[in-house]
């Protein structure tokens, strides 16, 4: 290592070596990346697309290696955002590209190597999962392979961090040497075509634009690069040459150009393996995976087993998650008390209220879901790393496809029953942007855990015991049904277009490593916390302001309190059970009047005519504004509006008041509205983040609310006629 350090240092004085890891999905690239960089990594999003850019660093002698983990791609075409991102990283000319391949799948994985050899960058071939291949009896002549390829070939076992030192050493070797001319053999027909196009490629715009790879892209009529090439000097000539060569090849071989070119790469991989592979993998080496699949994807047992697996994950997420959630709640209360304690008990300090009721309560209400998110992602990372996720998509695709969704949409939507936020974050497993957006948009219709607290308040308030369980079931069913119908509607209108191809590799089962799962889990949690600290903090403060301002003048409070006392007395007189209001109740009364006086209360009043046709009065509307912060806040807000002590403890009292003031029809209309409309601010914020556009988030907010309004309106108005 030290010996290697000197030549690199002279080559790269005082700057880091930029290394890109390229490879097919499921080649173990990420675990190798983790092994290389350890905890020194950084995850960001590529601008404009929701593809993660994962980078990290490690040291090599005196130099620093800056490693970028390219998204897993099967080839360097430009159909998917991942592929485009990978290409753009390559056009940025990294110093070395490490091509990671699954040693047990060499023939298919070497295709990408062939494409990269055309780009002219310095390469290192990394035969990952070398242990598995060796176990399956594969023997490779590595020395001959290096000789034939002209660059270093290293065997690694990424998840055990084996071969990392050798990989670094190979990077050092290849960086120090001059780039070797490519020894790629693609066949005569292809060579002729490339030779015809090559001289016309522009030489001034960077090496990659003059490479054989670019010539191949043009030959393939890749619109992405054809478009970029058209504007370059000499570009049109190159394009014309490419067109002629394309036609020549197609006429001569009778093959479509894409099929022909792929055949060339496979021919290269086959040829290379014929030379260097002295003994191939035993064909039955992967039988374990087949045996597991015989059970897990069984024609009849597959779905029940999947249901059990998901049940186990949800149990873990929401049952086990309750324990740390309790701690966080306590912690937040303690923090609120601590901050609040800086002021005297009855201080009307605005700052105190802002910090305690706005910031701490608002962000706390969101952070409290962190254990859910961590645990759900722990479960999902486990499913994904073992390879079961792809099987789940296989099992559910038929159902999902009927509604214009994808098999991979199923798990995110299921997660939505727990909380929409992790559900939306889980849509990242979907490859097509359109599928991803549709899933995100309809996901809030899956009745989340927070809404369960609302159903727990409302259903017993309005429905007799025999109806309660069916009612709860019905609400969930309405949510699922609407989600699927809405997905279908979106597919037919705004998100029109051909189905994204459902061609998915089902990787062999692998045990996830202790290293990769926590890293992935921490990433997701970090994203969530950052969101809680920024957007959600802002909205919380806004909502706090809306429910606190303007404050009624103190004399008004007194008057209101007095008025309330008299009204309560009247009410008490009616029930023939006179009880003087306690000071505590007076405080609640004051809080209720304060809320009514605030912007939120005024909005509630102002919007009352709009919501009257749905059967809602200003109290409900005001409480719903709070529900935007978090759905379960609705219960607390109703408590405040009705001056009933703490929503949870006093839910019996609140239920009685609700049953007194509203008919079951209004109750049902309200449940529908809360189910469908107004996804909470965390959902909207995370939709904005994951879809990359505010317009999708606002469409979700506006569209669902409009749908909720129409549904409740129809139910209430038609119901009124019947009842």
């Amino acid at each position: 290592m030290l010996a290697a350090a000197t030549p690199i240092a002279s080559q790269f004085p005082g700057r880091e070596i930029r290394v890109a890891l390229a490879g097919n999905p499921n080649c173990g690239k990420t675990s190798l990346f983790n092994a290389l960089t350890g905890a020194r990594q950084h995850v960001a999003n590529y601008a404009g697309v929701t593809v993660e850019r994962r980078s990290g660093s490690c040291s090599l002698g005196d130099n620093l290696i800056e490693v970028v983990d390219l998204p897993g791609t099967y080839s360097l075409s430009s159909y998917s955002p991942e592929e485009r991102v990978a290409q753009d990283e390559l056009t940025a000319a990294p110093d070395v590209v490490v091509v990671v391949v699954d040693s047990t799948q060499l023939q298919r994985h070497l295709v990408l190597l062939g494409q990269l050899m055309q780009t002219g960058v310095r390469l290192v071939l990394c035969l990952n999962m070398a242990d598995e291949a060796r176990g399956a009896g594969q023997k490779l002549d590595l020395a001959l392979m290096e000789k034939l390829l002209g660059f270093p070939v290293v065997e690694t076992v990424g998840h055990r961090a084996q071969g990392v030192a050798a990989l670094k050493e190979a990077i050092a070797r290849v960086v120090a040497a001059a780039p070797a001319p490519s020894r790629l053999v693609l066949g005569e027909t292809m060579d002729e075509a490339l030779a015809a196009i090559r001289p016309h490629l522009p030489s001034t715009t960077g090496a990659i634009f003059a490479s054989d790879w670019m010539a191949t892209r043009l030959l393939l009529d890749d619109h992405y690069y054809a478009g970029r090439m058209a504007g370059l000097p000499g570009g049109p000539v190159a394009l014309e040459q490419a067109r002629q060569q394309r036609e020549r090849i197609q006429a001569r071989t009778g093959l479509d150009i894409a099929v022909f070119v792929s055949g060339c790469y496979y021919g290269f991989a086959q040829g290379l393996l014929r030379e260097v592979c002295t003994q191939p993998c035993r064909p039955n080496a992967r039988q374990l995976t087949d045996r597991i699949d015989a059970v897990l994807v069984h024609r009849w047992f597959g779905l029940p087993i999947f249901a059990l697996v998901m049940y186990a994950i949800f149990w873990l997420t929401f049952k086990v998650g309750e324990i740390p959630m309790g701690w966080i709640e306590l912690g937040m209360q303690w923090l609120g008390g601590l901050v609040g304690g800086l002021w005297p008990a009855d201080s009307p300090s605005l700052l105190r209220s802002l910090l305690v009721d706005g910031a701490i309560a608002g962000v706390g209400g969101v952070i409290v879901f962190l254990p859910n998110i961590v645990l759900l992602f722990l479960g999902l990372a486990f499913l994904e790393d073992t390879g079961y996720m792809a099987r789940a998509a296989f099992l559910t695709d038929r159902l999902m496809h009927r509604f214009g969704l994808h098999g991979k949409s199923f798990i995110p939507m299921l997660s939505g029953f727990g909380c929409s936020v992790p559900g939306i974050m889980a849509t990242r497993t979907l490859e097509s942007h359109r599928d991803r957006v549709i899933t995100m948009l309809v996901l809030p219709l899956m009745s989340c855990g927070a809404r369960l607290t609302i159903w727990m308040l409302l259903i017993p308030a309005f429905f007799p015991p025999a109806w309660r369980a069916p009612m709860l079931w019905f609400i969930y069913a309405v949510g699922i049904g609407l989600a699927l119908l809405l997905a279908l509607l979106l597919r037919k209108t705004l998100m029109r277009g051909d189905d994204s191809p459902f061609v998915m590799e089902l990787p062999p089962y692998r045990l996830p490593t202790l290293r990769s799962v926590p890293i992935r889990m921490m990433e997701r949690s970090g994203l969530y916390l950052r969101k809680a600290g920024t957007t959600i903090l802002g909205i919380s403060i806004l909502l706090w302001a809306a429910t606190s301002f303007p404050r009624p003048p103190s004399h008004a409070i007194a008057a209101v309190a007095a008025a309330s006392v008299s009204s309560v007395a009247k009410a008490a007189a009616k029930t023939a059970e006179p009880a003087p209001p306690s000071p505590e109740e007076l405080g609640k009364q004051a809080a209720a009047e304060k809320l009514e006086y605030s912007v939120a209360g005024r909005i509630g009043h102002g919007l009352e005519p709009v919501f009257k046709p749905l059967g809602f009065d200003w109290k409900i509307v005001t409480a719903m504004i709070g529900a935007f912060a978090a759905k379960e806040v609705f219960v607390a807000q109703m408590g405040i509006v009705y001056s009933i002590a703490d929503g949870d403890k006093g839910s019996e009292g609140l239920r009685r008041v609700l049953a007194r003031d509203y008919s079951p029809l209004v109750g049902f209309s309200l449940m529908l509205f809360l189910l469908i409309g107004m996804p909470c601010m965390a959902t909207v914020a995370v939709t904005r983040r994951e879809s990359g556009k505010w317009s999708y988030a606002l469409l979700q907010l506006g569209g669902l609310t409009a749908l909720a309004y129409i549904s409740s309106l129809l139910v209430y108005q038609i119901g009124k006629l019947i009842v």
Partner: protein
């Protein structure tokens, strides 16, 4: 050497005797008779050598060689002569028409080969040749193949260069979606375009690769196939864009 039963003796006579039989057969066909000097001229040998050979053939009861001038074939002799000649003609045509050799070289090569082919090999070669006769496009596309022209093409060029074949198999083949679990086939053509085609190619679904349906989801969708060692899931829609031929049962159950 005792004269044995007919069938066996035909195989036991030497190449040169077979050549003589062939020559005599040809002369008789062409001019109605064959004399020693005709045979000697045709085969470019001395009359004495012809006489020795004729005596051997007479011993084997393949020719009648009583009068000093004319040679007559016995029915067995005629059969043997016709057999050798038809082999010669077929092989010559094969070298000439299929492998594009010059006619002289083709005839010479046929002479060398006509004796050593077993009857079984010959029958099969005849069948193959007859097949080529019914399907001239095969010969045509073989000629177009770069390997046939100058022997310098890469494997990838060769196996996929056959225009006629891909057209023919397109007509004759069925789609992957028509296979049942446990059936395998060879990919003939990928009907898809754009992203789907590229994805399939990237996954290793190329013309001339074997593909096998391992299971199908409940209700007949999606398909679970294996190709080049990878397990792939694809919808019926995608599967029906992959044309296959040469369907075989592969289920080990």
């Amino acid at each position: 050497m005792a004269p044995a039963a007919n069938g066996v003796e035909e195989q036991e006579i030497s190449s040169s005797l077979e050549d003589y039989l062939e020559t005599i057969y040809l002369l008789v066909q062409e001019q109605g008779f064959a004399r020693v000097k005709d045979v000697a001229r045709a085969r470019d040998v001395k009359a004495a050598s012809v006489s020795i050979a004729l005596r051997k053939l007479a011993e084997l009861a393949l020719v009648r060689y009583e009068r000093r001038e004319y040679i007559a074939l016995t029915p067995d002799g005629e059969k043997a002569g016709r057999r050798v000649f038809s082999r010669h003609r077929l092989l010559t045509r094969f070298f000439e028409e299929v492998l594009s050799m010059k006619s002289e070289a083709a005839s010479e090569q046929a002479c060398a080969m006509e004796h050593s082919l077993t009857d079984e090999a010959m029958v099969r070669l005849v069948r193959f040749f007859e097949f080529l006769g019914t399907c001239p496009s095969v010969v045509e596309s073989f000629r177009q193949c770069p390997l046939a022209r100058d022997g310098k093409a890469a494997l990838s060029d060769v196996s996929r260069a056959c225009t006629m074949c891909s057209k023919k198999s397109e007509e004759a083949s069925m789609s992957l979606a028509e296979l049942r679990p446990g059936q395998g086939a060879t990919v003939a053509k990928i009907g898809a375009t754009g992203a789907l085609r590229q994805r399939l190619l990237d996954m290793g679904v190329l013309p001339e690769t074997p593909i096998e349906v391992e299971r199908v989801g409940l209700g007949g969708d999606p398909f679970w196939v294996r190709c080049q060692g990878a397990r792939l899931a694809l919808r019926r829609n995608e599967a029906s864009s992959i044309m296959v031929h040469a369907v075989v049962e592969t289920a080990s159950k």
